[in-house]
């Protein structure tokens, strides 16, 4: 089984049984994140902007005394930025032993579900870590490492995804 560097090696079966995921909405579409990558959902707050050169980072917000960068992933996933009132989904990114936080603007409330996951295949986009089915809808489980800046690419293109790619 291929895993990215920094990810504990566990069996394929253990990874792909029922997992807790958080459903999030971007515009009219729903996506999912592994629940252990989600810290909290917060109401919109003031965003601070300052000069920088990293594409994809809009600014930062203050949350519990911590400065958290805001990254609008909607443009990459649905083709347009979120313009309506939005919440911030504070997500955790892990690489090796380090964890940092990033705020993802989302369109509305999020939902915690249990779902069986299917690992992403070699033909899937890099931002897809896995797939799940919920309420008759097939939903992409997102790979934050491929969607947000500052994460080094990992073997198999899994980025910081907690779900390894499966070998046929």
């Amino acid at each position: 089984m291929r895993t990215g560097s920094g990810i504990d090696t566990v069996s394929w079966a253990e990874q792909l049984d029922a997992r807790s995921c958080v459903l999030l909405r971007l515009g009219d579409r729903r996506f999912a994140l592994a629940a252990d990558q989600v810290s909290e959902l917060v109401a919109p707050s003031r965003m601070f902007r300052f000069a920088h050169r990293t594409p994809g980072i809009d600014g930062v917000i203050l949350r519990r005394g911590r400065v958290v960068p805001v990254c609008d992933i909607a443009e990459r996933l649905i083709g347009k930025r979120l313009t309506s009132r939005r919440y911030y989904l504070i997500s955790k990114r892990r690489q090796e032993a380090a964890t940092d936080w990033i705020a993802l603007p989302v369109s509305g409330d999020c939902e915690l579900i249990q779902a069986d996951l299917t690992a992403a295949g070699p033909s899937d986009s890099p931002h897809v870590a896995a797939w799940l089915s919920h309420d008759g809808e097939v939903i992409e489980v997102l790979n934050l490492g491929a969607l947000t800046p500052g994460m080094e690419p990992m073997e198999g293109g899994a980025g910081s995804a907690a779900l390894p790619e499966a070998q046929a």
């Binding site: 300052f50 000069a51 050169r53 990293t54 911590r66 400065v67």
Partner: protein
């Protein structure tokens, strides 16, 4: 009789900073890294023009003894809209004079937060980190981050040509160190 040692609460470490404006944005810099604050007017006769295409943010240099100090336009350095500048920070231990719009105030910061790894371009050299003052997030600049070694080499080469120019150019005026 044994007395328990008294554990004193460690004093909060503070750092004096200067909040300054460039192109309507606020930045912070450690007070200790600023050697002098001069007005643009006071240095008008002491600066020489320099034109190095590879470093457009530097258009003037000052001679301080044997050293050339390059005046970096802060707005251009940060990629902001150019704005009328009134002051120059002459920075310690660098060959940089920072051209800014003005000073907001002097204050202290108690906590410097590292930039998130999500910021992964030039800003990691520009800034020491971020601080929060009165519920505002302010970037704290790195005094060493205004000119790279390569830019200094380019500027030194251009400055050599300027300083060797005939006396028809503006005369050198040595500044008090």
């Amino acid at each position: 009789m044994r007395f328990e040692p008294v554990h004193k609460t460690p004093a909060v470490r503070t750092e004096q900073i200067i909040l300054f404006r460039s192109s309507n944005q606020i930045f912070a810099i450690s007070s200790a890294s600023v050697q002098e604050v001069r007005s643009v007017d006071s240095l008008a006769g002491a600066s020489m023009d320099i034109d190095e295409a590879g470093v457009p943010k530097v258009r003037h240099l000052l001679k301080r003894g044997e050293r050339s100090v390059y005046v970096v336009n802060a707005a251009l350095h940060f990629g902001l809209r150019p704005s009328p500048a009134a002051l120059i920070f002459l920075l310690r231990k660098t060959r940089v004079g920072l051209l800014i719009d003005g000073i907001e105030k002097m204050t202290t910061m108690t906590r410097l937060q590292a930039l998130s790894p999500a910021f992964c371009h030039e800003e990691r050299v520009w800034y020491r980190g971020l601080t929060v003052l009165d519920q505002n997030v302010i970037p704290v600049v790195n005094p060493q981050g205004f000119l790279t070694e390569q830019e200094l080499l380019q500027l030194d080469a251009a400055a050599g040509a300027v300083l060797e120019a005939p006396a028809a150019c503006a005369p050198e005026v040595g500044l008090t160190p």
